[in-house]
Symmetry: C2
Subunit: 397 residues, 2 copies
Amino acid sequence: MTKLQAGYLFPEIARRRSAHMLKYPDAQVISLGIGDTTEPIPPVIASAMAKRAQGLSTFEGYSGYGAEQGEKRLRAAIASTYYDGLGIEETDIFVSDGAKCDISRLQLLFGANVTTAVQDPSYPAYVDSSVIMGQTGIFKKDIEKYGNIEYMRCTPENGFFPDLSTVKRTDVIFFCSPNNPTGAAASREQLTRLVQFAKDNGSIIVYDSAYAMYISDDSPRSIFEIPGAKEVAVETASFLKYAGFTGVRLGWTVIPKELLFSDGSPVAKDFNLIVCTGSNGASNISQAGGLACLSSEGLKAMTDVVNFYKENTQIIVDTFASLGFNAYGGLNAPYVWVRFPGKSSWDVFAEILEKTHLVTTPGSGFGPGGEGFVRVSAFGHRENVVEACKRLQQLYR
Amino acid sequence: MTKLQAGYLFPEIARRRSAHMLKYPDAQVISLGIGDTTEPIPPVIASAMAKRAQGLSTFEGYSGYGAEQGEKRLRAAIASTYYDGLGIEETDIFVSDGAKCDISRLQLLFGANVTTAVQDPSYPAYVDSSVIMGQTGIFKKDIEKYGNIEYMRCTPENGFFPDLSTVKRTDVIFFCSPNNPTGAAASREQLTRLVQFAKDNGSIIVYDSAYAMYISDDSPRSIFEIPGAKEVAVETASFLKYAGFTGVRLGWTVIPKELLFSDGSPVAKDFNLIVCTGSNGASNISQAGGLACLSSEGLKAMTDVVNFYKENTQIIVDTFASLGFNAYGGLNAPYVWVRFPGKSSWDVFAEILEKTHLVTTPGSGFGPGGEGFVRVSAFGHRENVVEACKRLQQLYR
């Protein structure tokens, strides 16, 4: 535990933001930092949750413990909505209170004695949960890396997809696409190579598709679109960034029945044991919301929410482009990944905060490969995003 | 993982119940088994959740990510309601989606290299999560125990409190009071001895007080009523069995700032890292319910729910007593612990299910010390409890 560096990135940003607000109590601070949704939950979805909550006060509407794996109808709806034709069934879906929680459960499944690869940069929960499980060596300050973690460098130069010929074999490969923070979605051809790489090495891919609905081009929405992926991959996903469920909490993990450990036993069986021992499933009220999300009205409403944030993304991309920056991402994710050549991410973060009262996220918080970049999140009210871009133009013009 | 025996107790009971219903499709099966609440959530509490859910569809009412540790107002209300005058503050409270989930998080905190003691019998999640963390040796079939777990035998003969002079020193001691399944609440004098034992041995007590509101006598409601407990104990608790929140999911864990590891670092600091890395807090809608639970109206409503189940308990206790059984518990917990001398728990479970269509819980599922007992839960609609007792009278008169 003492190995974990400086706590978790986002609490650290929250601390710095608070300190800034103490220093400038009258400043209108705008956060394009932690990737928190800002727009209200569509009424059709919120009403379904309100109805379920109110119904719990009646004999007919009351329900206690649900299935640890999630309600049957919701599991079926997730399978048919997001995995139609891919051979993923209701029983392969484990509903949870969010992908971050499931990543921790997957780490518990893998145990302390595995080796792990992550994209560099990537969402910090993969590495941090690996450290907590005791999988890693100490943090080496000079190279900003933990021992026993394979960092797969993703840069503009390699199209944000690692050169697999230089990647060491590991037991587990975390892969997030569309990627947080770079916003890059891997192509079908790239994912086919990744699946083959995992198959050749006997690795398990943990594929994080939390931003799949943000994809605009023809990149796969799920790893299971790749033939053979069901034998090498699990997939985590959630409603958080589609329906504004960051506070409501609802996600899921797909563990295909075809995925086996090297001794031939199904991974899903062990994951089920962990889920049953360490949880009682997601809140029944949140699950009612999930079902509403997957109704035809709900799907339309979620698409509207996603499109709203995508318009924000475009405004931010255009702003940085007009200022001469190299800004990546945006097309397939609600994140813009901006290069500041030769500068330290935390210095850029601090300068932007100090001079414009904008909270961003320093790229180096996502791994050493993020150094020299800053992540700008497109989650925000439109007027705040517009105002933030105005301040950036004043700072950098 | 392969060490874990036959999966988790309650899923196993659910499987047997399903098989029974296939065999007797017309039988009216009554469950006094898994301890699931059956009575509707009091309207004042359900309405607060419905209001919060509906509010999430408005700009004023929307909220995204909350604090991982729980909303400030809820943490403060828990501290002042349940720990008034005990020196437990808002910042010592970590809100979660339930005590079972927190037990898993605590195990992650302790890691694989600790020794653990549990009451025998006790709630299976302690041992099962310990197995999953890799803390235990193999399961020894002949004695029905895992290696590296210290089973503290609790029997009618020792007043359901272990003889600490025979208990080996361990790093962690799980202690549930009122106990699930025996229904026994430890007295102030017994808990004082337990705290001293932990202090002498440098052990951490994980005190599970999930049923504290069911206490009728003057047993302590919290381990922190015992002087010195803040230096040796954490406490898990929840709204599940008070407000019917088994499906809604809301609990909390108290980690006093006075509790330090042997190197002097605060336990709360590491627990906070685990909470921040592996979760995003409980659902905001559930937390609105928790706040309503702790209003004066909510507290009264929860007391009514608890009293309803306590009346059920009395009906069950009276039934077994009238049939000449030794039935324990009941006074301080919604569980009745019935002795069937010389019989196997699973045989008794099977006989009761086969002949009366009642689901109970075999005592041996809670540890070898539960052999020869059956746990009867008092959670049920009144007419079902009365009908169940009628059937038991027909079977055993």
